[in-house]
C-alpha cells in the first residue's frame, strides 16, 4: 500500500515569546496522492505556519510530519533541502521571481541544485513554461509580465522538478478575477493530471475548487466533509 503524501501526527509549532504563540496545535492530517486540499481560515489562524511546515521551510516544535512516508522532523538539512527541491513545489502569493532574470532563467534556478545536465534542465524549463501557457514569453523579464503571467512562471518553477506535492500560498491573492480564474483552471488541470495540491486561501471561491477543505482556527485544524469540487 502506498504511503500518504502527507501525514501529520500531533504536529505543533509554537513561537517562543514572551508571550509564546501557539500557531499550530497538535494537528493531525492525512493527504493522499492526488488529493486537492484547501486550507482555509482567517488571517492569523495559522495557515501560513502550516504551509511553511509542509514546505519544510520551518521545523515543528512537536509531533511528526511524514512526507511520502519519510519522517521529515528527523532529517538533516541536507535531506530537507533535497526534499524541497525534488518532492515539493511551492507557489507564493507574491510570486518571488528574480526581477533581473528572464522567465526561463527563473525556472532554471529551481533546477540548479538537482545534478542534471544543463541540456536536460533547459529542456525541462522550456517544457514547464509551455505547460503553463508561457511558451512565447521565455525571455521576458518579470517586470514586463502581467501578474497572472508572473504567477504562471512561479508555478512552472514549482513544477519543473516534477514534485509529488504542490503547495500554494494564496496563489490568487495578487491577481484580478480573470487571471485568478485562469490560474485556478490551471491548478485544476494539474490535479486532474495526478498532482497532489494543497492551497492555503481565505477565499471561498478558491477553496471551492478543492475536493477537500480543511479549516484552521487559532492553530486547530478541522476538516469539513462533502465540500464541492468545482
Amino acid at each position: 500500500m502506498t504511503a500518504p503524501v502527507i501525514e501529520l501526527r500531533g504536529l505543533a509549532r509554537t513561537y517562543p515569546g514572551p508571550p509564546a504563540v501557539h500557531a499550530l496545535r497538535l494537528a493531525d492530517l492525512v493527504i493522499e496522492l492526488n488529493d486537492y486540499v484547501a486550507v482555509t481560515g482567517p488571517s492569523g489562524s495559522g495557515k501560513s505556519t502550516l504551509l511553511h511546515l509542509l514546505g519544510l521551510l520551518d521545523s515543528p516544535t512537536a509531533g511528526s510530519y511524514l512526507l511520502d512516508g519519510l519522517d521529515t522532523s528527523k532529517l538533516p538539512d541536507r535531506d530537507r533541502s533535497a526534499l524541497r527541491g525534488r518532492r515539493i513545489g511551492i507557489v507564493f502569493q507574491a510570486f518571488h521571481l528574480l526581477s533581473y532574470r528572464t522567465a526561463l532563467e527563473n525556472v532554471l534556478v529551481a533546477e540548479l541544485y538537482n545534478q542534471t545536465s544543463r541540456g536536460t534542465r533547459l529542456r525541462a524549463a522550456i517544457d514547464a513554461l509551455i505547460a503553463v501557457g508561457l511558451g512565447q514569453r521565455l525571455d521576458a523579464l518579470p517586470t514586463t509580465l502581467s501578474g497572472g503571467e508572473c504567477q504562471r512562471v512561479a508555478i512552472a518553477r514549482a513544477l519543473v522538478n516534477r514534485p509529488s506535492l504542490l503547495l500554494c500560498d494564496e496563489p490568487t491573492g495578487n491577481l484580478d478575477s480573470r487571471n485568478a480564474a485562469s490560474l485556478m483552471a490551471l491548478l485544476d488541470q494539474l490535479n486532474s493530471g495526478g498532482l497532489t495540491i494543497v492551497i492555503i486561501t481565505h477565499d471561498p471561491a478558491v477553496a471551492a475548487h478543492a475536493g477537500r477543505t480543511v479549516a484552521i482556527s487559532d492553530g486547530i485544524l478541522s476538516e469539513r466533509t462533502g465540500a464541492p469540487h468545482a
Binding site: L57, G69, D71, R78, S81, G85, R86, H96, V109, Y113
Partner: protein, 423 residues
Amino acid sequence: MPRPGAGLPPPRLSVRDAAAEAVAGIVQRPGRSGLTMLGTVLGVGAFVAVLGLTATGAGQISRQFSVLEDTTVTVADNGPANDVAPPGTYPTPGFAADADAIADHIHGVVAAGVWWPVALPQGTNFSASEALSGVTSQTVNLLAASPGAVKAMVLTMVAGARLSAYENDTAQHVAMLNTTTAATLGISAARLPSHPAVFVDGIAYTVVGIYSSAQRVVSGDSGMLIPEKTALAEYGNPEPGIGSYEEAQMVIATKTGAAEEVAREIAAAELPTDPKRLVVTPPQNPLKLQGEVNGDLAGLFLILALISLLIGAVGIGNTTLVAVLERTGEIGVRRSVGARPRHIAAQFLAESTALGTLGGLIGTCIGVAIVVIFAATKNWTAVLNPAYTLPAPLIGTVVGLLAGAYPALRAARTSPLEALRYA
C-alpha cells in the same frame, strides 16, 4: 519504513554553475558591479602603478649615479702638518706643478686637474673695456683651473675655446666666462673674435671662451676661469685647509667603475712624501646608495598601495554585504527550491571573487598604462617587475575572496523562512 532521505541525491551546485550564476549576477547588474569593482580597480591599479613608478624612478636615479656621481673623485689640500710658509703668505699647494700629468698616469683617470677659488680683496671690480660696455661688477667668482681641471669639469661651450696647456704653462692673462658673467659684463659670443678683455682691478684678461654649464665643480651663478699658473703668479698660493673657501682641490673624472681604485691611489701618487695631507673623497658606493633609495621609496609606496588595497577590500566587503541584505528574498527563493546554505555561500563568494578578479585585471591594466605613459612622457624606460605585475590580478581575486567571506557566511546563515519574509 524507508531510511530518511533515501532515494534522493543531496542537492549540489557544480563549480561551473556557481561561476555561471556569479557571472549572471555581475552582468545583469552592471551599475552595481562596476561600483563594487571600483575599490579593487583603484587598489590594484595603485599597487601596480606605485610600484612601477618607483622602479622606473629608481632606474632613472641609478642611471644618473652611473654617469656622473660614480665617476667623480675629489682631492682637497689639507695643508702641511707644520706651516712652512713665511708669515702672511700661504704654503705651496700640496699638488705638484705637473699634478695633472701625474693623475693621468693612474689607470681609469679620464681627466684630472687642480682648481681653487681665488681669494680677492673685498670690493674687487670686474669690468669690461670702455669700448665694449664699461659695465662693472663685484659679484664674479674668479676660479683658477689647470687645463686638466678644465677638461674634467666638462664645460658646455657656447663660443670660443677652452684654456689651453700652453696658456697655463706660460701664465697667460686669458679667461673663460660663464654665460651669466659674460652677459653681466656685456660680452657676447659674437665679440669673441675681437679678443675682448675683462679687467680685474685693472689687470686685463683676454676672454678666449664662453661656457654655459659645467658637469663637475659648481662655481656659483657667475664665474670666470683663469689658468692655474696665472693665478699663482698674480694672487699667490691658495689657502690650505679643509673647509676653507679658497682651498686648492683636484677634480678627477674617471671611467665608470674606476673611481674607487683611483681614490685609493691618487694621494700617494700626487704627494708621496706626505700623502695624508691630501684628503680624498671617493663617490658614495652607488649600489649601496641606490639600494637605500630604492628600499626607502619601495617600502613607503608599498605601504600606500596596501592601504589602497585595503580600502578596495572594505569596498567589496561592504557592497557585498549590502547586496546580501538586498537579496535576502532571492536567498529565500533559492532555499525554497533546494539550495543548501553552502550553495548560497558559494554563490555570493563566487560573485565577490569574480568581481575582485575582474577589478584586479582592470586595475593592473590601468596601473601598467600609467607607468608606461608616465615613462614615455619623461623619455624614461618603464620598469615593471613581473614578480608583482603578473600576479596583480590575483591580488584582486584574493581581496574579493576575503571581502566576500563574511557576507557569504551571513547569507548562508539566513533561514529560508526569514529570507522569504523579505522577498
